[in-house]
């Protein structure tokens, strides 16, 4: 095997892992911090993608469309939390059913509003070369974006007053209320943040994955498994799981077939969950 192929495979698998991580972080916040299994996570990605697409079509530069997408998904996330999720805290299966239903509603709404096909925005035609091999530039940029997202969420949850309130409201809701934290509002905000991160992912991945009503399905399974493998230490765990599972399956796919890559992903997930039923971070001392 030539060295340049090896190098290009390593770099591209890192970008594959980053794409998975970007799609996962929002779910990690909602599931990891709040214990809510949001099966409509993929649809929030889709909402983010369509928001960014619509704004770009109206003439705004693509970069400015990303914050708009985040705001739109946060707003919808907040409404969903107040109307549905807040009534179902602690009822994990009911939440799954409700969010699954929600995902179908959001999907069909997208079909009704945008139709089944919308023009994509295309990827920047920029690429780098490693030996004989070309790599598209934009997916590589996702490595930086994933790191930035991780740092942002880490700082948000550990260094800000909101972050402390958010963790307190979930971990000790009664104590949090006793010391004057409005835990209802904090939970709404945390769910909205998770949805906003999904919206960000949909918008930032738009050049790679065109906006379609069904795009959520492609992400939700792998994102969800990544979070489950990660376990209670949400952020670090998800980053490691994404690199291991996403990167590993990408390398497997490069040397064997894409089907083998998928088999790697699901097989390794099954083995890890068999060995560590509570996720890889079950015994870590970190909190995030």
């Amino acid at each position: 095997m030539e060295l340049d192929y090896l190098a290009s495979v390593l770099v591209s698998s890192l970008s594959s892992a980053s794409i998975l991580l970007i799609a996962t972080i929002g779910l990690a916040v909602v599931f990891g911090l709040m214990g809510v299994i949001n099966l409509a996570h993929g649809e929030f990605l889709m909402i983010g993608a369509y928001s960014a697409l619509t704004v770009t079509q109206l003439g705004l530069p693509y970069v400015l469309s990303i914050p708009v997408a985040v705001l739109v998904t946060m707003a919808i996330g907040a409404i969903v939390e107040v109307l549905i999720i807040s009534r179902l805290y602690g009822r994990i299966f009911d939440t799954m059913l409700a969010t699954w239903g929600l995902s179908m509603v959001l999907y069909q709404l997208a079909v009704l509003i945008f139709g089944t096909v919308s023009p994509g925005i295309g990827m920047p035609q920029y690429n780098i070369q490693i030996g004989d091999y070309n790599l598209a530039g934009y997916p590589l940029l996702m490595i930086v974006v994933a790191i930035a997202m991780l740092v942002f969420v880490y700082l948000l949850m550990t260094k800000t007053i909101y972050g402390m309130k958010a963790r307190a409201s979930i971990q000790e809701p009664e104590m949090a209320q006793a010391i004057g934290i409005d835990s209802t509002r904090t939970n709404t905000l945390t769910f909205a943040v998770g949805c906003g991160l999904a919206g960000f992912a949909g918008a930032v991945l738009l050049p790679i994955v065109p906006a379609t009503p069904s795009m959520g399905f492609a992400f939700v399974i792998k994102s969800f498994l990544t979070v489950v493998v990660a376990g209670p230490v949400t952020l670090t765990g998800s980053a490691l799981a994404a690199i291991g599972l996403g990167g590993g399956s990408s390398i497997t796919a490069s040397f064997m077939t894409s089907v083998a890559g998928d088999v790697f992903f699901f097989l390794v997930t099954a083995i890890i969950l068999w060995l560590y039923p509570l996720g890889i971070s079950a015994k870590w001392r970190h909190k995030l």
Binding site: S13, V117, A136, I208, P210
Partner: protein, 399 residues
């Protein structure tokens, strides 16, 4: 309620039943109007309604009005079988038009076989379905690939890479690509089968570069897989390696793909909206008047339009809508002046002889037709399946 009233209403109801039975010919339609496959199903259903309207506006069929019993299969297989049974047992249909995926066709085919009702399957597919009651108006994989691979080897060169979805459409297409490559002195230097949920194609792109092909046969299914074409172009491979496909555009992927990635892609199908013929002009005019021009018409829609008209022609020829004479009329080799050229039912295989077009993606989310292969026969199906001499044959042939 007194006795007279009851008798009266029974008489009234039965007289209503009698009149409807005489004035209408019912046909069934099961398409995916909601769910993940409605990208195709809505257009198929639109085409069916347009065709029925067209026939009714021209005096109906044998003096009767055509009535559609329409069902939404919601992109779910169980709904197909459920509605297929309902249409047979309750609605009393004379013909069925349904299905997009091969699995949906295989799920309902036995129901119409048992009921002896002609069933029309209208989508491009991997080929090989063979059943007395089943008629296929889409093109088969071998029908499209036989002309496309020959053309592409001449245009680009002999080294071929195959990127295909990981189910029978992809694997059977890959078989035909290998065969036609060998027939034309070319070879398949690599292939990758991908799950439908894959969104990140960088491993495939690395393997394509390692295999150094002259062209890639890309068979992306659904809108998710259009990401492959974006990533292919952004990696800078489009100028060095050609891309051809038998299904690109079948779900209007050219609308989703950006002009930078879509320009120069080669697609081959039995119909493109840009086909230049008086029949197509008339058809698109009717379509646009009813459904607008926002979304281009896909080949699956024209396949349904053709199916309804071919069935109607068979009913006229048979002088009745009853199944056995209609199937016999269909097997006599009915031709129809379709939007995509003259199409003819092959009596033995129940597949269509039809034009296969090769088109090049332009920078306006559309196609320019660059070559037309006229009256291409479904040769694999003709070779394997002869329902005239062997009417009891029921098989899905795979190479």
């Amino acid at each position: 309620m007194n006795k007279n009233k009851i008798i009266g209403s029974i008489l009234l109801a039965s007289s209503l039943l009698v009149t409807t039975a005489h004035a209408d010919i019912k046909i069934g339609a099961i398409f995916d109007l909601t769910g993940g496959l409605n990208i195709y199903g809505i257009q198929q259903n639109n085409a069916l309604n347009l065709a029925v309207e067209n026939i009714n506006n021209n005096g109906g069929l044998l003096g009767d009005t055509l009535v559609v019993k329409s069902y939404d299969s919601q992109s779910e297989l169980s709904k197909y079988t459920q509605y297929a049974k309902t249409s047979v047992l309750r609605d009393g249909i004379s013909a069925m038009f349904a299905g997009l995926t091969s699995s949906s066709r295989e799920a309902i085919r036995p129901i119409f076989r048992k009921a002896n009702i002609p069933y029309f399957y209208s989508s491009l597919y991997e080929g090989g379905a063979c059943d007395k009651q089943t008629f296929v108006t889409g093109s088969s994989a071998s029908q499209q690939l036989s002309v496309l691979i020959k053309w592409a080897v001449e245009k680009y060169g002999p080294r071929i890479y195959v990127m295909a979805p990981d189910y029978n459409f992809g694997t059977i297409s890959a078989y035909w690509i290998k065969k036609y490559a060998a027939d034309n002195g070319a070879e398949v230097v690599g292939q990758d089968f991908l799950a439908l949920t894959v969104t990140d194609y960088s491993p495939t792109l690395q393997k394509i570069q390692a295999a150094k092909p002259d062209f890639v046969v890309a068979l992306p299914v659904g809108a998710n897989q259009t990401g492959f074409l974006e990533q292919f172009a952004a990696t800078g491979l489009k100028d060095k390696i050609g891309v051809v496909s038998t299904n690109y555009g079948s779900g209007n992927q050219q609308v989703v793909v950006s002009p930078e990635a879509g320009k120069g892609l080669i697609a081959s199908q039995g119909y493109f909206m840009s086909v230049n013929s008086p029949e197509n002009t008339e058809f698109t005019k009717k379509w646009v008047a009813k459904y607008g021009s926002e979304i281009p018409i896909v080949s699956g829609a024209v396949d349904v339009w053709n199916a309804v008209h071919i069935w109607a022609a068979a009913v006229k020829e048979a002088g009745t809508a009853e199944s056995t004479p209609v199937i016999a009329a269909l097997e006599s080799g009915i031709s129809f002046k379709a939007p995509n050229g003259i199409v003819t039912i092959e009596g033995g295989s129940h597949h269509l002889r039809q034009n296969i077009y090769i088109a090049e993606g332009n920078d306006q989310h559309g196609f320019n037709i660059i070559k037309t292969f006229e009256d291409v026969a479904p040769s694999y199906e003709n070779e394997k399946c002869d329902l005239v001499s062997n009417p009891k044959l029921v098989k899905h042939f795979t190479p």
